[in-house]
């Protein structure tokens, strides 16, 4: 029963996508009702399944799973692909936060796209609404988004992709959901397609994630090759993992499991915007803010980490190369993106880099084996980062309102022209503060603290280097969060638009309020039992849900491993609980509070037109960070310019024009030469000549012989006589001799 419901969860949004595009495209209210109603069905299903799963006693050993045959295999049944659902602790956790954020952001989108507002006369599809001057008032009021229904169709399709991915028990449908989300990401980043920058950002996002996707597809192929199955349960079966860890991959120093894990990690790097493929996410902020919140903060980018956690046993079996790569990429990305976020002035780009940085935390946590902490942070991050983006959208909306009120064009995403919004938008401020403190890891109270602390504690116990990098990143995180809050909400308004900003509609405030509650309280479900005083007050649901993720190996597999001397048996055994450490906790306290305090001190007196205080401190390095460490330029020089050069010079000029065209021309000339040779050598003299000579000879013979045909009977008679005489004479001559 639960499995059947789980099967059905992804389908209503897909139906909504089709219905909106095919039937209700022209009716905004109807389309909204279809999209939200269908999603509500999915959310209900998800909650029922989650509740059922939570009541199951031994979820890890006895997950809610069912599969049906999809693609038939050979006659003996091998090679068949089955698809189905697999609901274990990780799925339940992901399903819950996905459902909550999806629903909140659907509701938020209604208000964000000014549902119910009049249509603007100058609004064109593909551009954000300019506002309308309804009612004869000279001042503009917000107008409804011209492609309102299309937006809901796209995010419905996206919801389908995400739910499908989360529930999949096999890599085939997981990959389908993965790619559907990639498509939706492309469509929604380019939602305002009349903007050049949005189009470029959409293409960039699509292409950059494609690199990861292709490598991931190779990883899927390897899974198939070594396991003869795409089913996650069969691939992650300990004995199969032991086989894969013992098999060679063809790459020196890597087992089959290692290579597969690295390729899947590449998929994660692309989807979760990890260095070196992180460059698409900041540009993706060109999309509408609900899209940034939903796809590029809460769900789609989480899918990469989800894949990593889903295949965690494979990562463990892969051992050092893959886990080290994950830990390095994650930690480096966390620090790098946090540093870049320091220097951003666009309210959404700060959050984008922050997302990259937080996802880096999770990847690093997975790399050091702290899967539970990574999953915990994944869920908490979805709540507080979704909240922050919704808050940012609300701020932009409010400042837009102020700009319209004043009739001026202002860059309404530039934090330097904001300030003092706390008084104008108290609800948004409160919610943003909750989200920001959670992101910064404000101790004890917020969700972000508990999840980040768990990662730091795990790092403290496993890898000092990772711990130092992540702690530094946490310090920077707290600093840029304080900077953002100070710039946007504190001080005095630094522009007329900010001075006249107004709180948005209830459609937008309600989801923000709900997420704010989650962003603070959700973490309380994951307080470690061994935490002083607070531990055990609230049972650690996250731990109970996720802990038995790894299954002990069977004795046969252990014996097999002992023979091949693969040092993975210890990793595959159930992980031990992270011991509590006061030092790690102190560091966690210190970086969070210290960063917040520093940021607040530096930015609380920021004035309009003033240089950024950090710019005075850092000098040229600030500009370098502001440009995202110039990765875009680096990649342009490393890849785009050579690619264009190869296309222009090597392929187009040399290969195409000279070699291929030259070969074609040479072949043409050679064929012409052979043709001429045949014509002059064979056709003309032999065939034509023979025919001509036969015809000419016949004609000449006729001309010669016609003189015989005199028409005179007596001459014929005479000729006959002569011939007869000659023949007779010859006969007689023969007879006589």
């Amino acid at each position: 029963m639960l499995a059947t419901i789980a099967f059905l969860i992804p389908l209503p949004p897909l139906a909504a996508f089709a219905v909106i595009l095919l039937f209700t495209r022209r009716h905004r209210a109807l389309s909204t009702a279809v999209a939200v109603g269908m999603l509500a069905l999915s959310v209900c299903g998800a909650l029922i399944v989650a509740a059922g799963a939570l009541r199951t006693a031994d979820l890890a050993g006895n997950p809610i799973a069912e599969s049906i045959p999809w693609i038939p295999g050979a006659a003996d049944g091998s090679g068949a692909i089955r698809i189905g659902v697999w609901v274990d602790g990780l799925t339940v956790l992901t399903l819950c936060f996905v459902a909550v954020t999806l629903f909140a952001i659907f509701i938020y989108s209604i208000g964000y796209h000014n549902f119910g507002a009049p249509e603007g006369r100058q609004d064109v599809p593909g551009l954000p609404p300019h506002g309308s001057t309804a009612g004869g008032d000279a001042r503009r009021v917000p107008s409804v988004e011209p492609l309102y229904t299309r937006f809901f169709a796209f995010i419905s399709l996206f919801a389908f992709g995400m739910l499908l991915l989360v529930l999949s028990d096999n890599l085939a449908t997981l990959f389908i959901g993965w790619e559907v989300m990639g498509l939706c990401s492309y469509l929604l980043i380019g939602f305002w397609f009349a903007r050049e920058r949005a189009r470029r950002a959409a293409v960039k996002a699509f292409l950059v994630t494609r690199i990861g996707d292709v490598l991931m597809l190779l990883g899927l192929a390897l899974c198939w090759q070594f396991s003869r199955s795409l089913s996650l349960r069969e691939i992650l079966d300990p004995e199969n993992l032991a086989r894969m860890a013992a098999a060679t991959s063809g790459v020196p120093g890597l087992s089959a499991a290692g290579l597969t894990a690295l390729l899947l990690l590449a998929g994660t790097i692309g989807k979760s915007a990890q260095w070196p493929l992180h460059i698409w996410l900041p540009d993706a902020m060109e999309g509408p803010t609900p899209v940034s919140a939903l796809i590029h903060a809460a769900t789609m980018v989480s899918a990469g980490v989800y894949l990593l956690l889903r295949t965690a046993p494979l990562l463990s079996a892969a051992g050092a190369p893959a886990t080290d790569a994950a830990a390095f990429v994650g930690a480096f990305t966390a620090l790098l993106a946090a540093a870049i976020a320091l220097a951003q002035t666009d309210i959404k780009r700060v959050l984008a880099y922050s997302t990259i940085s937080q996802l880096g935390y999770m990847v690093a946590a997975a790399g050091i084996g702290a899967y539970t902490a990574a999953a915990f942070h994944l869920a908490m991050h979805a709540f507080f980062k979704g909240l922050l983006f919704l808050g940012a959208g609300s701020v932009i909306h409010g400042v837009d309102h102020g700009a319209m009120h004043e009739g001026r064009e202002t860059d309404t995403q530039d934090m330097r022209v904001m300030g003092g919004l706390a008084g104008r938008m108290p609800v948004t401020f409160a919610a943003f503060l909750a989200g920001g403190l959670s992101l910064a890891g404000f101790p004890l109270l917020t969700a972000g603290f508990w999840s980040k602390d768990e990662i730091l504690a795990a790092a403290w116990n496993t890898s000092t280097a990772v711990f130092i990098v992540l702690a530094a990143a946490a310090l920077l995180t707290a600093f840029y969060t304080a900077r953002q809050i100070a710039l946007v909400f504190l001080g005095r308004p630094r522009s007329a638009a900010a001075a006249h900003a107004a709180e948005p509609s209830r459609w937008m405030l309600a989801p923000i309020a709900v997420l704010a509650v989650f962003a603070v309280t959700a973490g309380w479900a994951g307080i470690p039992d061994n935490f002083p005083i607070l531990g055990g007050v609230i049972p650690n649901g996250i731990e109970r849900l996720l802990h038995p993720a790894a299954q002990p190996l069977s004795s046969a597999a252990v014996a097999n491993l002992m023979e091949t001397r693969q040092p993975i048996c210890c990793i595959l055994a159930a992980p031990e609980k992270t011991p509590f450490s006061y030092a790690a906790l102190m560091v966690s306290f210190l970086v969070s509070l210290g960063g917040l305090l520093l940021g607040w001190l530096v930015y609380r007196r920021y004035q309009a037109e003033q240089k950024d205080p950090l710019e005075r401190l850092l000098g040229p390095a600030f500009g370098f960070l502001q440009a995202g460490c110039r990765f875009d330029d680096l990649y342009r020089i490393l890849f785009a310019v050579p690619a264009r050069w190869i296309a222009d010079v090597v392929v187009s000029d040399w290969i195409d024009r000279r070699i291929l065209d030259g070969a074609l021309h040479a072949a043409g000339r050679a064929a012409g030469g052979v043709g001429r040779l045949l014509r002059n050598g064979i056709d003309l003299p032999l065939i034509n000549g023979a025919a001509d000579r036969i015809a000419g000879g016949t004609r000449r013979a006729g001309a010669e012989l016609r003189s015989l045909q005199s028409g005179r009977v007596q001459e014929y008679l005479l000729i006959g006589l002569l011939v007869f005489t000659a023949c007779g004479a010859a006969l007689v001559w023969r007879m006589l001799n």
């Binding site: 012989l705 016609r706 003189s707 015989l708 045909q709 005199s710 028409g711 005179r712 009977v713 007596q714 008679l717 005479l718 006589l721």
Partner: protein, 102 residues
């Protein structure tokens, strides 16, 4: 008795006269007459050979009789042709009737 060779010589002379007439005469009627002479020379030969070599049988006489009939028919057809040509072309000279010249 007159030896066979005399008949044969006579027949050869008659044939030669006929041949000359057929070849040399310009008038078509004369040509037909030459042809008749040659036919009669053959007849003389047939009859002479029959009388001297196989007088008991009558084959030679039958041949001669058939040949006479053929000669008569031939003369009739030839004269009819000559009259027809004369009507069309107003001449009986073969050298002027050369429509079939190549």
């Amino acid at each position: 008795m007159i030896p066979l060779s005399w008949y044969l010589l006579f027949a050869a002379a008659l044939f030669g006269i006929g041949l000359y007439g057929a070849l040399a005469r310009r008038n078509a009627v004369a040509i037909v007459m030459g042809i008749e002479l040659m036919l009669n020379a053959v007849n003389v030969n047939l009859l002479a050979f029959w009388r001297y070599l196989a007088p008991a049988q009558m084959n030679g006489q039958v041949f001669a009789a058939v040949l006479l009939a053929v000669a008569a028919a031939e003369t009739a057809v030839g004269l009819a042709l000559i009259i027809s040509v004369y009507r069309l072309r107003n001449t009986v000279l073969p050298e002027e009737t050369d429509l079939m010249r190549g």
